[in-house]
């Protein structure tokens, strides 16, 4: 007897056995490829790229990727440019420990607000102008270092430069206009990770510039000021490149294109409400403050730490400090990769455990970093700490897209802001106080990281479970559809506004992990008569 076609298990639809582990390309037939569009990469119906070709600069998709991550990279260079030069700056401006610590707090505080505002700016002006405006208007703040003559001036200028870190938002936003949502995780993770590398690159760049300028004849207290002109010019150059070479959308710029009125615009108040009333949002805001946040903190304190504790030369301390930030090249994408890998077998529970393991391991290494007094051991623990913290950042954004479908943008923005808040807080508590040493500060921070990561065990998805509890057995409450559609009122559902959430719910069934029950046969396939 031939198998009855159409019965469960017979449809081999979509099963190839060769699903890529990392979604470098979208092969799913559910994403309709627009073959009429003339782009360098295959695109979907919105002309968003479905493939990610890393070493291409072709307009518009890959060119946007490179313009975007390099702009973000540039703002990291500018924001943390002072950090490796602090041993010189503290002598020039007669700074006390509290001044240095407060400047570090200031450097990451500004962008708490600018990151929240940037989303709206991108909506209004487009990500191209959002990015260009920010980096070209913050270039003067970098040049301002030449005027600084005391602690208060130093703190104010570092605060103003720090606003430019909101390019994180324009970067991620711009990626989402150019790349299909199935590969957006990898694209955004790579862009964010490579942008964060700027925090490492600057530790290498600034001491080298300082030495060169000194050799050219400048006195130390003038040389560091001249060195700041270089990051300032990076800002200007990238701004001009973004304006001349970039475009907001695959088909052109926001102003030039007619806005298509197909998709009903959501209400900001509603989107904010569903973000703020979801307890998971706040847990991740807290957690990101102790993965990304501590990464920013270390960018600010580590060069000075190695210079003072181990009596290294300025450029050597800079090289070691650079290794911390540069680990982002692989560490952050690695965290996203392990998250996806764990999800394949264990679903969302695997992602949560992965995040907890990585972030706690990072915290443990930070604790050890403060305890050791040998240079090789310190470097080792620093690198292990960097991998743990940065992979945790990548792992965090492997989970964030599942917290909410309706409010993803705002939740991402809030989480990003939480990162900066955590950085400001840790610098204030542990590194601005003269009453305990930097090594004690590192140890205490490591303990705090491990404690703060525990709340990830409270994150429970009824449809997937949590670290310690399985998913709900209730047929209705335990479905993905119930979770995502509960963000819409009856009225909104009647207008059909929840359709995208429904689609997302269906696609998210893979977060159950293990053996996935076969999806219902798509309506296009008419079962044959037996």
């Amino acid at each position: 007897m031939p198998e009855i076609e159409g019965s469960p298990g017979t449809s081999m639809h979509g099963v190839t056995g060769r699903e890529p582990v990392l979604a470098f390309s979208v092969a799913s037939p559910m994403v309709h490829t627009d073959r009429t569009a003339k782009f360098d990469l295959p695109v979907d119906s919105e002309h968003k790229a479905t493939k990610f070709k890393l070493f291409s600069f072709a307009n518009p998709h890959m060119r946007t990727f490179h313009l975007s991550w390099i702009s973000f990279f540039t703002t990291f260079i500018s924001t943390f440019a002072a950090a490796p030069l602090v041993p010189i700056i503290r002598d020039n401006l007669d700074l006390k420990k509290a001044d240095i610590g407060n400047a570090g707090v200031a450097s990451v505080s500004g962008s708490i607000f600018s990151r929240l505002v940037m989303g709206a700016v991108c909506d209004l002006l487009g990500p191209r102008y959002g990015c260009a405006f920010l980096i070209m208007l913050s270039a003067p703040t970098v040049f301002c270092m030449s005027f600084v003559s005391d602690a208060s001036g130093y703190i104010v200028v570092r605060f103003m430069i720090g606003f430019s870190l909101a390019t994180f938002v324009s970067c991620q936003y711009w990626m989402s206009t150019m790349f299909n949502s199935k590969i957006i995780g990898l694209v955004n993770g790579t862009a964010a990770g490579w942008g964060n590398m700027g925090g490492g690159a600057t530790q290498l760049l600034m001491p080298v510039l300082f030495e060169i300028i000194k050799k050219a004849g400048a006195t130390p207290f003038t040389a560091w000021r001249i060195a700041f002109f270089i990051p300032g010019w990076f800002n200007v150059i990238m701004g001009i490149l973004v304006l001349t070479l970039g475009q907001d959308l695959p088909d052109g710029n926001l102003g030039a294109l007619q806005k298509k009125g197909d998709v009903a615009k959501d209400k900001f108040g509603k989107v904010l409400w569903y973000a703020v009333t979801n307890y998971r949002t706040w847990i991740f805001v807290l957690l990101y403050g102790y993965s990304m946040g501590v990464e920013l903190t270390i960018d600010n304190v580590i060069a000075e730490y190695f210079y003072d504790r181990f009596d290294l030369k300025l450029h050597l301390a800079g090289i070691i400090a650079a290794c911390f930030g540069m680990a982002n090249l692989l560490a952050r994408p690695f965290g996203g990769f392990t998250s996806d890998y764990m999800a394949k077998r264990f679903g969302m529970r695997g992602r949560l455990w992965n995040l907890w393991l990585l972030q706690t391991a990072g915290g443990l290494c930070c604790l050890c970093l403060g305890l050791v007094s040998s240079l090789p051991l310190a470097i080792t623990f620093m690198m292990l700490f960097s991998i743990g913290a940065q992979a945790a950042c990548g792992a965090t954004f492997g989970i964030i897209p599942f917290i909410s479908r309706r409010s993803l943008g705002i939740i991402s923005g809030m989480t990003g802001a939480g990162g900066n808040f955590g950085s400001g807080l840790t610098q204030l508590i542990f590194f601005a106080n003269a009453s305990f040493s930097t090594e004690k500060g590192l140890t205490y921070m490591g303990i705090m990281i491990m404690l703060v990561t525990i709340p990830v065990s409270f994150v429970h998805f009824p449809q997937w479970g949590s670290m310690f509890f399985p998913p709900s057995q209730d047929i209705v409450k335990g479905s993905e559809e119930h979770y995502y559609v509960s963000e819409w009122t009856e009225e909104e559902k009647q207008k059909g506004m929840h359709q995208a959430s429904l689609k997302f719910a269906e696609n998210s069934r893979s977060e159950r992990g293990g053996k996935v029950t076969s999806a219902p046969t798509p309506p296009e396939n008419t079962p044959n008569h037996v």
């Binding site: 041993p87 010189i88 503290r90 002598d91 020039n92 007669d94 006390k96 420990k97 509290a98 102008y129 260009a132 405006f133 070209m136 208007l137 270039a139 003067p140 040049f143 301002c144 030449s146 005027f147 003559s149 006195t219 130390p220 207290f221 003038t222 560091w224 000021r225 001249i226 002109f229 300032g232 010019w233 800002n235 200007v236 701004g239 001009i240 304006l243 710029n253 102003g255 030039a256 000075e304 003072d308 003269a434 040493s437 930097t438």
Partner: protein, 157 residues
């Protein structure tokens, strides 16, 4: 207040000690040291008993072979000396480069006979002007670009 840009240091062997105490002294290192007020809240200038870890006297004034008397040196304050309150200390080292004796211009509590140094700012008018020009360029080119694109958008409609 009258500021000078030079310090004249002189040192000699303290005759109240037994003759021959200085037989092992080979070189003298004269250093500029921070007074306690300039060390406060600045752990990178901390005094430690272990000389290798001690950060009190980071600035070298001069190093000379040891002689018991007639030692004088005039030092022009270098441009990377930070503002602060200071004293001068001279270490006598033996043939193995170990500190075996010292003398200083202040007392044990380090609160008498201190002097102040005022650092240069490191600022220059030329830097300030360059800074203003570059900043203006950034703002003007951004505004110009925005304006031009808005005009192109209007004219193409």
């Amino acid at each position: 207040m009258f500021w000078e840009d030079q310090i004249t240091v002189s040192w000699r062997f303290n005759q109240t000690y037994r003759a021959g105490t200085d037989s092992g002294y080979k070189t003298v290192k004269v250093k500029l040291c921070y007074a306690p007020i300039s060390q406060k809240d600045r752990s990178w200038r901390k005094t430690e008993d272990r000389l290798k870890k001690d950060k009190t006297c980071p600035h070298k004034i001069v190093a000379r072979p040891y002689t018991a008397s007639n030692n004088t040196f005039t030092w022009t304050v270098e441009k990377d000396i930070p503002s602060g309150v200071y004293f001068v200390r001279a270490y006598a080292l033996n043939a193995h480069e170990q500190e075996v004796a010292y003398g200083q211009t202040t007392n044990v509590q380090k609160d008498k006979n201190l002097f102040q140094i005022q650092a240069i700012t490191g600022r220059h008018v030329s830097l300030d002007i360059a800074s203003v020009c570059f900043s203006a360029f950034s703002i003007v080119s951004l505004a110009g670009f925005f304006y031009m694109e808005k005009r192109k958008g209007k004219s193409s409609q």
